[in-house]
């Protein structure tokens, strides 16, 4: 393939907004499209990507082992059974973030880029050491934000930090959007969030209960064809490959509007 390899960090500032969910689904989406993808879990001490991908029982070595020379990079990667184009480099579970330096992650990611077309880095919450590790190696960033004041405020700080780290291409994913609440004027709309942050919009992901099912089974929600969030993540993956994909019509998902449409009142 002629595609130039690229490392993308998925980050947020505030924790719990959906970074790991995004990495797992978008990573799988890229692999479904035929690209070779490596997911790097940089959340040392609090790993989660392995669980989200159902790979937790196949981990032998981890990121810190590779950096310390305990294991070779290749033998530390865990391949997805169904989608072997997808690999995971798990985070160490019993170590501390401070044990890894940004230059070491950069070296590791550069090595991965020789083998994979996409390297997606899952960042830990916060803007300390772990955050710096995850941005040192990246060519571009995806900022995941929830339509709430604290998340937007933290994201704005993160944009400033990314820009001062010379990471210029930053794309926005607004996650956990509830179209009904936006319609009722009780949730910040995607447009409002984007206006505040003034960066390119890459994706809109609705609030979706089916994500809990996917976390129970260890199959990222992108594999769930009944899930609107899954569809949204699939669109994000396609946009990352350069394809132009229109944004989802989220309103169509609500039952009330469907009923209203049936009776021609919406």
């Amino acid at each position: 393939m002629t595609h130039k390899s690229i490392a993308i960090t998925v980050t947020s500032g505030k924790g719990g907004v959906g970074k790991s969910t995004t990495v797992a689904s978008v990573g799988l989406g890229l692999a479904q499209l035929g690209y070779s993808v490596c997911l790097v879990d940089t959340d040392i001490g609090l790993r989660k990507l392995d669980l989200m991908l159902g790979l937790e029982n196949r981990i032998v070595y981890d990121l810190v082992d590779v950096i310390e020379g305990v294991s070779k990079l290749r033998q530390s990667l865990v391949r997805h059974k169904e989608y072997p184009k997808l690999a995971l480099l798990p985070a160490a579970q019993t170590r501390y973030k401070e044990e890894v330096a940004p230059e070491q992650i950069k070296q590791l990611v550069d090595d991965l880029k020789r083998e994979f077309e996409f390297v997606l880095l899952d960042s830990p919450a916060g803007i300390e050491g772990g955050f710096r590790n995850a941005i040192a190696a990246a060519d571009r960033a995806i900022l995941v934000v929830n339509p709430e004041i604290p998340s937007v405020r933290d994201s704005d700080r993160v944009i400033g930090l990314l820009e001062s780290a010379n990471l210029k291409q930053i794309d926005l994913v607004v996650n956990r959007v509830q179209p009904g609440m936006v319609r009722d004027g009780d949730m910040l709309s995607v447009e409002r969030v984007q206006n505040h942050l003034a960066i390119n919009l890459l994706g809109i992901v609705p609030e979706d209960k089916r994500i809990i099912r996917s976390s129970n089974t260890g199959e990222p929600v992108i594999l769930d064809n009944k899930s609107m969030a899954g569809k949204a993540f699939s669109n994000i993956a396609r946009r990352l490959t350069g394809e132009e994909v229109p944004f989802l019509e989220l309103e169509a998902a609500t039952l009330i509007t469907r009923i209203k449409r049936l009776f021609h009142i919406a």
Partner: protein, 88 residues
């Protein structure tokens, strides 16, 4: 009426617009790295500056940081009058 209200949904005022306004302010302060204390000092210096240039400040000085795209614009409104002695 109270009886009827039990059936009709209590109309609440939507909150997203408030969130939007609060965010505008929070972000412009955060981006300009500014707080109330700093704004006060800023206002003080502006009054001094006006004095130096021959103006009396005759009302409330307002300094409001505003964000446009990712740039902060500091708007200062300073009601002044030209000093008597400079007119002579």
């Amino acid at each position: 009426m109270a009886f009827l209200d039990m059936f009709g949904k209590q109309k609440e005022i939507p909150t997203a617009t408030r969130a939007d306004d609060r965010l505008s302010l929070v972000l412009s302060y955060q981006r300009a790295n500014i707080d109330e204390e700093k704004l006060k000092l800023f206002q003080g210096r502006l009054i001094e500056l006006c004095d130096e240039f021959g103006y009396d400040v005759v009302g409330q000085v307002e300094v409001v940081p505003q964000s446009h795209e990712r740039t902060t614009i500091i708007n200062a409104s300073i009601p002044v009058r030209v000093k008597k002695d400079t007119l002579l």
